[in-house]
């Protein structure tokens, strides 16, 4: 059989060589027409011979792969031609982009198979898992979904919007879709592969070979991890390509174009403001607490009570009020916001960006806000937005970005920005507010979009690594439906960890963290008896739920803290700290912990056990 397909290949090469060679000779002798005829005829015969060979030798692996590629290319070209004939240029690009991703995926798969070809048990299990994922179509559905969504997203975004927002939307949606779909695929694949092998008993034939159970689990995990690496690479290539495609489209104006280059397709570090006086916020808090205790001693305690006696929820409430107060500037007042640690920005010698969003606590003056600004003592003015009085006229409740040259940074490596709430034209302006979280900040470029995208994908990959081990551990012991439910619970808890933690804080009363553990137990007993005696069963129920939820959250990782999508969509750098925590905690500690539990359960499991 081998000899025969080699003969087919030799004949093909000879055919092509002969007809092209003769054609070139004739062309050299000015027999152009005859040359064209012979070459065309030769190509027709060669194509027919190729198709014949692809059909006859389709069971030879490389012939099958080549045939699939050829068929895929032909179908894609045909489809693109149809779209082009109908005038749907966007669909042409989407089709070709999706096809390119499929080809990269196919080639990557072949490389992974080569990588896993040595005679090692772990590699054997990994390779079979990849075959299962592709051929049993568990993963294929998600893969196709990711490819289509990424290819189609750029063209369903509002084409009339600013280019900056179109690119930001595309990055947000494509990364979210990629992360969500791949997370689900990872969980279902991991659970299915191991639970199904136990039900259908293929595991009997595997584990009666010299493979211990740890190697089996590691092999499965390795296969899913490599598959995810490939899929993220393909998705990343697609996201990057379509981002550059969007970048090539015309912007609304020069400012839009500049915004794209400096604020979206960039990797920026951000600095939050601090008060010039370090104790200023604490003084504000103490003053607010004192006033609150005068107004409501039942809730905040009496003046003689120590500050630590305030409940966490009330303390957080007061802190938020302090921040709101600090970010509020009454009319004809000014506040100074200090930005430190800008030495790195000076080293990069890139323009700084002051990003802020002014809001008024009342009616604005025709939808505009007027502010006065000084940067390190120098009055700031900008052509086009500076009024005759020297104030900046800005649209209310919108983000504004002002470029600041790096040479303004003072010797201490910081910037002091004074913001003044004026009376423009003698008209009193309401209190000026900024959002405490991102109302005022300084950003500066530390790298490019490409590196940031890679870091983003690595963080997502670490998450998928953990989910793979979670699915395997659950599937090793539980049935597919039960394991799926458990893993979904863990996944959504991990993804919404920050939101859940904040919600639980307000959900039911509980002693603050500084209270000793034994006192917490006593408090719990006392409160439970109180609820029962007073018939407040709903409060008791809430307390129980809070305890269970808090305990569950302790044993799940926090994906919310390690979510790079909002950062890259906003042109912010995915910090090394996040990358490190993702690799160490998600990819290392949590994965190892879950893997250890899974192995301990799996190693002593009777695979052929029957429950009668």
């Amino acid at each position: 059989m081998l000899r025969s397909w080699k003969m087919w290949l030799i004949v093909l090469l000879a055919l092509v060589g002969l007809t092209e060679g003769v054609g070139l000779l004739l062309a050299a002798q000015d027999s152009v027409a005859l040359s064209g005829i012979i070459r065309s005829f030769g190509r027709i015969i060669a194509n027919a011979w190729v198709i014949y060979g692809l059909i006859v030798w389709r069971e030879i692996p490389w012939v099958r792969r080549f045939g699939v590629l050829l068929l895929g290319t032909a179908c894609t070209q045909l489809l693109a031609l149809v779209f082009w004939a109908m005038g749907w240029t966007d669909m042409v690009i989407a089709t070709l982009g999706a096809y390119a991703m499929a080809v990269i995926f196919y080639a990557g798969l072949w490389l992974i198979r080569i990588l896993l070809s040595p005679g090692v048990a772990v590699f054997g299990v990994a390779r079979t898992l990849i075959d299962e994922a592709i051929r049993m179509k568990i993963a294929l559905v998600f893969i196709v979904g990711v490819a289509i969504l990424i290819a189609v997203f750029p063209f369903i975004i509002d084409q009339d919007d600013f280019l900056k927002y179109r690119i930001t939307s595309f990055l947000t949606w494509s990364l979210m879709a990629t992360s969500a779909l791949l997370s689900l695929m990872t969980l279902f694949l991991a659970i299915a592969t191991i639970s199904r092998e136990q039900v259908q008993r293929q595991i009997f034939l595997t584990l009666t070979k010299p493979v211990n159970r740890a190697e089996y689990l590691i092999g499965k995990w390795l296969g899913i991890t490599l598959l995810n690496l490939l899929l993220l690479s393909v998705a990343g290539a697609g996201i990057y390509s379509f981002t550059m495609l969007l970048n090539g489209q015309p912007a609304r104006d020069n400012a839009d174009r500049m915004a794209v280059m400096s604020q979206v397709l960039a990797s920026r570090q951000w600095i939050e403001p601090t008060p010039p006086n370090p104790g200023e916020l604490q003084q504000m808090y103490d003053a607010l607490l004192e006033k609150s205790r005068e107004d409501d001693p039942e809730r905040y305690g009496y003046p003689d009570d120590p500050p630590e006696s305030v409940l966490p929820a009330d303390r957080a409430d007061l802190q938020q009020k302090v921040m709101l107060q600090w970010f509020s500037i009454p009319n004809q007042s000014a506040k100074t916001y200090r930005f430190n640690n800008l030495e790195e920005a000076r080293r990069f010698n890139q323009p700084l960006q002051l990003r802020f969003k002014p809001k008024l606590a009342g009616s604005s003056l025709n939808g505009f806000v007027y502010i006065g600004m000084r940067i390190n003592g120098r009055i700031f003015q900008k052509e086009g937005i500076t009024t005759g009085e020297g104030f900046l006229k800005l649209a209310e409740n919108n983000f504004h970005v002002i470029d600041i040259p790096p040479n303004i940074i003072d010797e201490q490596g910081g910037l002091s920005i004074d913001i003044y709430n004026p009376t423009p034209g003698g008209q009193r302006q309401p209190v000026l507010n900024f959002n405490p979280k991102d109302g005022v900040e300084i950003l500066y470029r530390v790298g490019g979009f490409e590196g940031n995208l890679v870091r983003t994908l690595v963080v997502v990959w670490m998450r998928l690594i953990f989910l793979a081990m979670l699915g395997l551990a659950a599937g090793a012991y539980l049935s597919f439906p039960v394991a799926s439910l458990v893993c979904m619970l863990v996944y959504f808890t991990a993804a919404g960890n920050a939101y859940l933690a904040e919600s639980l804080q307000y959900y039911a009363a509980f002693p603050k963290d500084s209270v000793p553990f034994f006192h917490k137990i006593l408090w719990l007993i006392d409160r439970t008896i109180q609820y029962v005696v007073q018939g407040e069963y709903y409060d008791l129920f809430k307390l129980v739920i809070k305890l269970i939820a808090s305990g569950f959250m302790l044993v799940t990782p926090s994906f919310g803290e390690l979510n790079p999508t909002p950062l890259i969509s906003d042109g912010r750098v995915v910090p090394t700290d996040m990358l490190f925590r993702a690799v160490v905690w998600s990819g290392g500690v949590w994965t190892g912990f879950v893997g250890l539990i899974g192995w301990l359960i799996f190693r002593s499991r009777e695979l052929a056990r029957v429950t009668v």
């Binding site: 048990a121 054997g124 010299p210 056990r609």
Partner: protein, 406 residues
């Protein structure tokens, strides 16, 4: 019994002799229900051992505990009581697995892999390098007659074809202990004969085989010792010849006799007080008839789209892992071929043997119907030892000149 307790108990047991591959002492397995109550005693205090180089049959009706016993040997189940050692180690010891080949009662293969990929997968699990596993895979596929469908997914195979691939994966590592649970299930008679040929050949090459089957005729043809289970217990245990030999009957075999001679023999036996003597035409086995038909069709070149008859035994099995061809392999194949193999035997040899047999049979008939003594047949090939019939009694019954010997 937990895994840890079992391993601890195993550490205390005396070492096996070098001839003992599997030893079970007081082996018990109880299955529990969801509430962990004891419900079914699948294996109940069995004692058996399997010696090196023998073919051991494990028989019993459905639910007698055969497959459970095999799973205990393989470490897929923990014993509830008793001890078990395989190659002197705990059944779950990974070192054991290197020497064991297992074909389960149902072939649990991955439907999305083709035959070649399936064997590659299992070869990788044995850490076989590419240079060893690829030729071995090709050889095994040829041996089981599936080389022409090697690239078709297993999910598209018939049951018999899947069993063949299952057998191939059980042999991929040239195992010292081969465990076959219903190996011929779903196979046609050709394939069944091939499997039996493989079993016999492997046993002759020093492999130990544990064969579990319902098909008693298949087991009878190939096993050395058997254990018959019922209700989780071993009811009969020993050499198959000893177990099957009927001490209360005598069978005499002659070439075809005419009715008058038959009648005379019956009357002679009745006169000796043998009341229930009967003369019947022996029947060949249906398997033999089937295989002869297939051999004729193959010799005539009839086309078929089904599985082909298997090839010769893989060389690496013949020589214990050495891939070079073993001498005498052809001879061994001829010696172990019980029925007319369509591939290996030459028609002229069969014909010559048959002619010789017929000539000898004629002589025996003549001796019975006349007063001449029958001459012993000159055997070209070794035959199983037979007890020589005391022809003096018959001779005397039909008025021979020589007096009866006492």
């Amino acid at each position: 019994m937990t895994l840890a307790a079992s391993q601890q108990a195993d550490a205390n047991q005396p070492p096996l002799s070098q001839d003992m591959v599997v030893k079970c002492i007081g082996l018990t397995k109880v299955f529990k229900d969801f509430w962990l109550r004891n419900r079914v005693k699948a294996v109940n205090d069995i004692e058996l051992d399997i010696r090196k180089g023998e073919v051991f049959g494990l028989l019993g009706p459905n639910g007698s505990g055969k497959s459970t016993t095999i799973k205990l040997i393989l470490g897929l189940l923990h014993p509830s009581a008793g001890r078990i050692a395989v190659f002197g180690r705990h059944p779950r010891d990974v070192k054991n697995k290197q020497r064991i080949g297992y074909l389960p009662e149902e072939t649990y293969l991955y439907p999305f892999l083709n035959a070649y990929e399936t064997l590659e997968y299992y070869a990788r699990l044995f850490h076989q390098k590419r240079g060893i596993r690829r030729p071995r895979i090709d050889t095994l596929l040829e041996m089981v007659g599936l080389q022409h469908v090697a690239r078709r997914p297993i999910g598209e195979y018939s049951k018999g074809m899947q069993r063949k691939i299952g057998l191939a994966q059980a042999l991929i590592n040239d195992p010292d202990l081969l465990i076959l649970d219903e190996p011929t299930s779903g196979m046609d008679p050709i394939a069944t004969a091939d499997v039996k040929r493989v079993i016999v050949s492997l046993a002759e090459r020093g492999k130990t085989i544990l064969l579990c089957s319902h098909l008693l005729s298949d087991v009878e043809d190939v096993t050395d010792r058997v254990a018959i289970m019922y209700g989780g217990k071993v009811r009969r245990y020993g050499q198959i010849d000893e177990l099957l030999e009927q001490q209360d009957r005598t069978m005499i075999s002659t070439p075809a006799l005419d009715p008058q001679t038959e009648e005379r023999i019956i009357r002679a036996l009745e006169s000796e007080g043998v009341c229930d003597a009967a003369i019947t035409r022996p029947r060949q086995k249906l398997e033999t008839l089937f295989l002869d038909m297939v051999a004729e069709a193959q010799a005539a070149g009839a086309a078929t789209s089904g599985a082909q008859s298997g090839g010769k035994i893989a060389n690496f099995l013949a020589t214990g892992g050495d891939e070079s061809a073993g001498e005498g392999d052809e001879l061994i194949n001829q010696l172990t071929t019980k029925t007319a193999s369509p591939v290996d035997t030459h028609p002229s040899e069969v014909e010559h043997t048959q002619v010789e047999d017929r000539a000898h049979e004629d002589k025996v008939i003549d001796s019975l119907t006349s007063n001449e003594a029958a001459t012993p047949k000159q055997q070209d090939t070794p035959q199983p030892p037979e007890e020589q019939a005391d022809t003096s009694v018959i001779d005397s019954l039909i008025q021979k000149k020589d007096p009866p010997k006492t």
